[in-house]
């Protein structure tokens, strides 16, 4: 029963995308994927997603460390707020960034229509992944090892690099991979803030959306297949890593 349900809802529709992308032959598929606009959109998406994974790896780990090891007033509130991007609708995330970093911004910064805007939107929606995968590992980490290192004369940077970081690497990698996968397909938070200029600020999901609107379905399906392939690879890699967070607080 579960299998039938999943087939009707998930598998048959995704199979239809794959089938449709090659309806007009493999040549047409290849032409659609390698059209200049599609290549530009895919390249931008990949570049930004890699940047998002990298920034999250650093800042996500930093935030997790501060939440676990530091003590300050309001820490519980900060900890609770981390999940906000999962609860907040993506279109609201877009509006939110527009309010502060758009035209008429109280800061005077206007990034709308630039790649920085897209990067910011993607960082917003992927914020919880690394924090929430690193946090539990850091909490379980045995402090004795670190204390031993300190008593043997290691500085705090050495302790972090040689003892804490190696223990966190699997969690950082799986969190970043989830952030990457999410960034590759993200649409709602990006669409209002990116400007969506072909060749400049049009990401793959916005490109596909445009193709659907203009009834260029084969082209939309072909680029979708590339994104599907990417998601599958990342999913399998995370599974292979064996650390796919159960419960997937992955909005």
């Amino acid at each position: 029963m579960a299998t039938v349900w999943l087939s009707v809802i998930v598998l048959i529709p995704l199979a239809a995308v794959v089938a449709r992308s090659t309806d007009a032959g493999l040549g047409a598929f290849w032409d659609a994927v390698t059209s200049r606009q599609a290549i530009a959109a895919l390249r931008l998406t990949l570049t930004l997603s890699i940047a998002v994974a990298a920034v999250n790896a650093v800042f996500g780990t930093l935030v997790a460390w501060v939440l676990v090891r530091d003590r300050f007033r309001g820490r519980a509130v900060v900890n609770a707020v981390i999940d906000l991007p999962f609860a907040l609708p993506t279109i609201v995330a877009g509006i939110t960034l527009l309010a502060l970093y758009g035209p008429n911004s109280p800061t005077g910064i206007n990034v709308v229509g630039t790649r920085w805007a897209i990067l910011m939107a993607l960082l917003f929606v992927t914020l919880p992944f690394v924090v929430r995968s690193v946090q539990p590992v850091l909490m379980e980490l045995d402090r004795e090892m670190e204390e031993a290192a300190v008593s043997l004369g290691a500085g705090s940077f050495t302790v972090f690099r040689r003892i804490v970081l190696p223990n966190l690497v699997p969690a950082i990698v799986s969190g970043s991979a989830l952030a990457f996968a999410r960034a590759v397909g993200e649409f709602g938070s990006v669409v209002l803030i990116a400007g969506n200029l072909p060749f400049r600020t049009e990401v793959a999901s916005v490109f596909i959306f445009g193709r659907i609107e203009s009834d260029a379905i084969t082209s939309a399906a072909a680029v979708s297949v590339v994104l599907l392939g990417l998601s599958l690879v990342v999913l399998l890699a995370i599974r292979g890593l064996g650390r796919f967070a159960p419960g997937g607080r992955a909005g």
Binding site: T3, I9, I95, T96
Partner: protein, 268 residues
């Protein structure tokens, strides 16, 4: 503490500044912008006929999608944990797919199956059933994106509690239905509740997939998130902020319920 005080405070400031710039200040500014002209205009903006229609459509879609996903999610989790059948590994992988697939691709996929020129489109048209560019398609899209939540919440709990109590109940003569209702269900209830809360938040907030299949028929297939976009594109920025603030409040409420449920869920 293995890190000296100055470094610790430096790291704290850096982390908090990052969160503030990316998350806290933008959300605060949205609320400020929304209410800067008074509560009255906000109330007017979220009680226009279009807004009320969008609100109820959002509720309706969530009320269909979430219960369906909950029931079938529990069944799927039971099958994954207790069942023995071929293709279980494949099923495991398929369940996570909605997390990784772009919402736009999900929308396109549904159009290609249930749309007028889709695989089942001809048959559906003959029956006089319209799915794409209508509410049923939006429900399907919502079910798709929310699919993993209940399964992935219930599955670890089921694994944790094991099946010894269920076997004991069966030996004592309980029927399968009784065993499920009296033994299994109480054990997983907080897991289910948590999954339901996340699914509901996701159902209310879904934009991309719903946008593709809705056809954007103003006043008919606008959900709250589509209303936000619609107003923004039509230069009704204040209206977009008002609808956003409403959605943000729903999100904050969800967050509070999640935090309230978490200790019980982690206990069970």
């Amino acid at each position: 503490m293995t890190v000296d005080r100055r470094a610790r405070i430096g790291l704290r400031v850096l982390a908090l500044a990052y969160l503030a710039a990316l998350l806290l200040v933008p959300v605060a500014v949205v609320f400020y912008r929304t209410f800067e002209h008074g509560v009255g205009s906000v109330w007017e903006s979220i009680t226009t006929p279009a807004a009320i229609h969008a609100f109820w459509l959002t509720v309706e879609i969530a009320l269909i999608a979430v219960p369906l996903n909950t029931v079938l999610g529990v069944i799927t989790a039971l099958a994954l944990v207790r069942g023995r059948f071929r293709g279980k590994a494949v099923l495991q992988a398929v369940i996570d797919l909605p997390f990784a697939v772009s919402p736009v691709v999900i929308g396109l996929a549904l159009v290609l199956v249930y749309g007028r020129n889709g695989w089942f489109g001809g048959w559906l048209t003959d029956q006089g059933i319209q799915i794409i560019f209508a509410v049923p398609g939006m429900v399907l899209a919502t079910i798709f994106v929310c699919l993993p939540f209940v399964v992935r919440e219930v599955e670890p709990v089921l694994r944790e509690v094991g099946d010894e109590q269920e076997q004991a109940a069966a030996t004592l003569g309980a029927s399968r239905r009784q065993t499920f209702l009296r033994v299994t269900l109480p054990a997983i209830r907080y897991g289910i509740a948590y999954g339901v809360v996340i699914s509901t938040a996701r159902a209310i907030g879904e934009f991309g997939a719903v946008s593709v299949v809705s056809g954007k028929i103003a006043g008919q297939t606008d959900t709250l998130t589509l209303l936000v976009e619609n107003r923004f594109q039509n230069f009704d920025v204040a209206g977009a902020y008002a609808a956003s603030a409403l959605l943000a409040l729903i999100a904050l409420a969800t967050l509070l319920v999640m935090i309230g449920l978490r200790p019980r869920r982690d206990q069970s």
